[in-house]
């Protein structure tokens, strides 16, 4: 059980231009801090341990000390100027993307999940991808940060620093990944009960794969192909599920909770809480409160047959 600096959610493991420039800056800060700390501690220890002399009380000692303190203050100021300069250099690219933004994604915070809404000029091509942000590799993606309930903070340490999602305020920032991969992020502003289980995945993929993914997401949900799935769809549509969830292509159209049109294609369930597997999904549908206490989804006491049918249907929503 060793700890690894630079794990899959570490700011020290950069995979994008913003995170990379911050890491360079971080090493500078660390080096300066260690140097200052060592010098100050050495001075303190020498001051404590040195042999005392009769001459210590002479004015000459005092004026020598005054000079030394003066030099130390000047060095402090110079060090601080160095830190400020490093900060400015690291912060240059923070606010405006390095190139033209490929796409714009609305990042909407909810208690306790994320909604990523992909813009398009054609209204029917607008779609949302809960808890999973897909971006093309090597291109800046513009992020519009907003929230519908309380303040959340969007943070994907491998790629970028934080941006708060504040109700009533929309701010723009940007994100870019330089290598394909899945980068985990997590809400960084305390947002209530399940702040701890409000994670997300950023899936960075080459442009062609990304475009394929977009194309797929724009399509309505797959029609159920087996009897079990058809029964599952019926149960779903007649159960309280539809009061919160939408499945495009069916009558379920509520956007209180995450959209489920392509839920089976996602990596995780419940905002990064569970791997997207059949058993986890069953547990989540039956009683999500035992997994993520306080979340907004009530338990669903379905009959075993119904549950199996719903599972089959939801798992078919690729």
């Amino acid at each position: 059980m060793m700890f690894a600096i630079g794990g899959n959610q570490s700011a020290l493991n950069p995979h994008g231009p913003i995170a990379r420039s911050i890491v360079t800056h971080t090493w500078w800060l660390l080096a300066i801090s260690i140097a200052v700390y060592v010098v100050v501690m050495a001075a303190l220890l020498i001051a404590l341990a040195r042999r005392r002399r009769e001459s210590d009380d002479l004015p000459a000692t005092t004026s020598r000390l005054t000079r030394n303190v003066g030099v130390a203050v000047v060095l402090t100021v110079l060090t601080l100027i160095g830190i400020a300069a490093s900060s400015v250099v690291a912060g240059r690219g923070l606010y405006s993307p390095s190139g033209a933004g490929a796409i714009t994604v609305d990042v909407v915070g909810h208690q306790w999940w994320w909604d990523f809404q992909y813009h398009d000029v054609t209204p029917s091509d607008v779609f949302t991808s809960p808890n999973e942000l897909h971006i093309p590799v090597g291109v800046p993606v513009v992020i519009k940060a907003m929230s519908t309930d309380v303040i959340h903070s969007f943070w994907v340490p491998n790629l970028m620093g934080k941006r708060d999602l504040i109700p009533g305020i929309v701010t723009n920032t940007w994100i870019q990944a330089d290598e394909p991969g899945v980068y985990r992020g997590q809400c960084a502003e305390f947002c209530g009960h399940q702040h701890a289980h409000m994670a997300l995945n950023v899936v960075a993929e080459p442009m062609d794969e990304f475009l394929t993914w977009i194309q797929h997401q724009r399509e309505p949900a797959a029609e159920p192909s087996t009897d079990l799935e058809r029964r599952g769809q019926q149960v779903f549509l007649q159960s309280p599920c539809v009061t919160c969830h939408a499945i495009r292509g069916t009558d379920a159209g509520s956007h209180v909770g995450p959209e489920l049109t392509h839920v089976a294609s996602r990596l995780t369930l419940a905002a990064g809480t569970l791997p997207n597997a059949r058993g986890h999904l069953a547990g989540w549908i039956a009683n999500s409160q035992s997994i993520k206490p306080g979340n907004r989804m009530p338990p669903n006491p379905l009959a075993p047959d119904d549950l199996q049918a719903v599972l089959a249907y939801v798992r078919s929503l690729r």
Partner: protein
């Protein structure tokens, strides 16, 4: 400057009478004066008397003990959090309870421990250090204590009843607003803030008045002990910072209670308004906690190196500069909100600049130790530990001033590490050192120094083991305020180490409490100046008499006791048959006039009861205000009822009759 001679054998010191001249002759006159002063400045006894006391030492002691009780309570909550976080996916504490625990831990540590305990040190020590008989506005002082106590008890009760606030010590809206925080939990938080605001403002006004107007003759501003300077700066910071949180918590209460929309964006309110108002108070708040600690450090360093602190003027100017710059940093808590970049750069600059006065003070202390004669008793160890921890916390603080770096570590465990380094290391270590230092003065008995050293090492090692790994956790992407974390994040080992360190902290804390309790009963009896320190509180017996000084002293130099000549004058002409005190001017402490302080009274307590009932009542109904106005008025009228006295004749005596004479 005339520092005392170097003494090699320091172990004898405890039982030694200090080298300084001491009045041993008690002529019949002096004995009579002593008795009369003791009668005049009596501390009332009995149950009613207990609630009537207006003596700064009694109130200060109660404040300190109460604050430490809250410290222990909040510390236990911290221990529970470390238990929960020791392993991933832990089910020991659920999210509902965990959120209450971290909210109450933060709120209690900040509002009920750190600020009050520092002000309490000021309440106890400032009048003694400046040669005064009591704090100015003694009844207000008593009132502030009860308001503080009732507020704190309310928060403890909510925690025990599982209805404690659960929205963080910062209570960001809209999470704390009416739509997202149902029930009364957030209201309890908002009113707790009101309680502590009132108490802190009252104490600050008293301290400013005490320091500015009742210093002993000769103690001009440039001779004031550094501890008194630090309390003065702190008091001013409280006076300027608190109105902001008053506004902000009152708006919240109004939003929740009577449906205003200050923070509701849907109705033209603004969620960010809260953050500006809160941090305009919240950032100075950390300096309100930290600046008094700087004063404690200076006191300990001068006493335990046997030399005045190096660079008095630089120290004072650094304290004052910290007080000003502290108000220009608040936006560095809001770097991630998306405010305009140019504005953020200003706050980066200000946050970096505040490192300069802190640096100057560190350098001056190191220079003091360099040319001094260090004696390694527990208080000095705690100060050395303070420097070692605080410098690290200061450096991590400078890194947080940088916007790009902050965007990564903001609201992560890096910040948790940082502020525990500056608050626990920067304030609590000096405070505990200060308790070891002033314990003999307050109780008349020495604390066990050997246990004190063990105590120091336990706390020092425990502290670093607990909080250093959190820097790495934060950089590794672990956010704050999560009640649990997944298994595969690479955070397990460091969290376990931190939890084990917390165990050491618990043992260290328990040892401190044990040492206090044991020394209070069985400690070596302390002389009036067991450490050979320089400030005036060490010239009176331990514990000090109720009237503090038999004769008000006249100060002849910056180190009141070390600079005192053998034939030092004292103030005479102050009446001893009533609570008369000398008022001096702000700059040079020249005598101006005499005023009479009020007698002990039950009214401040009654007023605090009504005030508290009003605060608690207004959590539930706006009618609490009109209903409590009448009883509040009654208690205030009783409080300010003029004393039937012969003061008219006394007022005619010119102030000039005060003269300086030999003791």
């Amino acid at each position: 400057m005339n520092p005392p001679p170097l003494r090699d054998d320091t172990s004898k010191l405890r039982h030694d009478r200090p080298a300084e001249r001491r009045e041993t002759i008690t002529t019949a006159d002096e004995e009579r004066l002593r008795r009369q002063l003791a009668d005049t400045w009596y501390v009332p006894r009995g149950i009613i008397g207990w609630f009537s006391v207006a003596d700064h030492k009694t109130i200060g002691r109660r404040y300190i003990i109460t604050a430490f009780c809250f410290f222990i309570f909040a510390g236990i909550l911290a221990g529970l959090m470390r238990l929960q976080l020791a392993v991933p996916n832990n089910h020991f504490i659920g999210p509902d309870l965990y959120n209450q625990i971290f909210t109450v831990h933060g709120t209690m540590m900040m509002f009920l421990f750190a600020v009050p305990v520092m002000e309490a040190m000021g309440i106890y020590l400032v009048p003694l250090m400046i040669g005064a008989r009591n704090i100015a506005f003694p009844r207000l002082n008593a009132f502030s204590y009860y308001v503080y106590l009732f507020g704190g008890v309310m928060l403890v009760l909510t925690m025990l009843m599982n209805t404690a606030p659960d929205v963080g010590w910062f209570s960001y809206v809209p999470l704390a607003g009416p739509d997202h925080a149902p029930g009364k939990r957030a209201d309890f938080w908002a009113q707790l803030i009101t309680f502590t605001e009132v108490a802190a403002l009252a104490v600050s006004v008293e301290l400013v008045a005490t320091i500015f107007k009742t210093r002993a003759p000769g103690m001009s501003l440039n001779r004031m002990p550094l501890f008194v300077w630090s309390m003065l700066v702190t008091a001013f910071m409280v006076i300027f910072a608190m109105p902001s949180i008053v506004t902000c918590s009152t708006f919240l209460l109004l939003d929740r209670l009577v449906g205003t929309h200050f923070y509701n964006p849907a109705e033209g309110g603004d969620a960010l308004l809260w953050q500006h108002l809160f941090w305009f108070f919240g950032h100075p708040e950390v300096y309100i906690i930290f600046v008094p600690a700087l004063g404690i450090v200076s006191s300990i360093i001068s006493a335990f190196t046997w030399r005045p602190v190096f660079g008095y003027s630089a120290m004072v100017m650094s304290l004052v500069a910290t007080g000003f710059i502290g108000f220009g940093l608040w936006v560095h808590h809001m770097f991630a909100t998306g405010l305009p970049a140019l504005g953020l750069e200003y706050f980066t600059a200000a946050s970096i600049v505040i490192a300069i006065p802190s640096g100057i003070q560190i350098f001056c202390w190191i220079a003091s130790i360099w040319r001094g004669r260090p004696r390694f008793h527990a208080p000095l160890l705690f100060v050395v530990g303070f420097v070692a921890i605080f410098v690290l916390g200061g450096l991590s603080g400078v890194t947080l001033a940088s916007v790009p770096f902050d965007l990564q570590v903001h609201d992560s465990y890096y910040v948790v590490a940082h502020f525990h380094y500056v608050l626990l290391g920067g304030a609590v270590f000096p405070l505990i050192g200060g308790i070891y230092f002033w314990f003999p003065k307050i109780t008349g008995r020495m604390m066990d120094d050997r246990m004190g050293k063990w105590n120091f090492w336990l706390l020092f090692i425990g502290f670093n083991v607990t909080f250093f790994p959190m820097h790495i956790l934060g950089l590794d992407g672990m956010p704050r305020r999560v009640y649990t974390y997944p298994d595969n994040m690479g955070w397990n080992t460091l969290n376990l180490i931190a939890s084990l360190g917390a165990l050491l902290l618990v043992v260290g804390g328990a040892m401190f409490v044990y040492n206090v309790v044991r020394s209070y009963t069985w400690g070596t009896v302390a002389s009036e100046n067991p450490w050979g320190a320089e400030t005036l509180e060490w010239s009176v017996s331990s514990p000090p008499p109720v009237y503090n000084f038999l004769h008000l002293p006249v100060v002849e130099g910056r180190c009141a006791l070390w600079d005192r000549s053998a034939d030092a004058p004292v103030v005479t002409g102050i009446r001893s048959d009533c609570r008369e005190v000398l008022v001096t001017d702000v700059m040079d402490a020249e005598p101006i006039c005499r005023v009479e302080y009020p007698e002990p009274s039950l009214w401040p307590f009654a007023c605090a009861v009504v005030t508290s009932a009003f605060f608690v009542g207004s959590i539930f109904t706006p009618w609490a205000l009109p209903i409590s106005i009448v009883p509040l008025a009654i208690t205030l009228i009783g409080w300010f009822w003029p004393k039937k006295a012969d003061s008219d004749t006394r007022a005619e005596q010119p102030a000039g009759s005060m003269r300086e004479a030999r003791a």
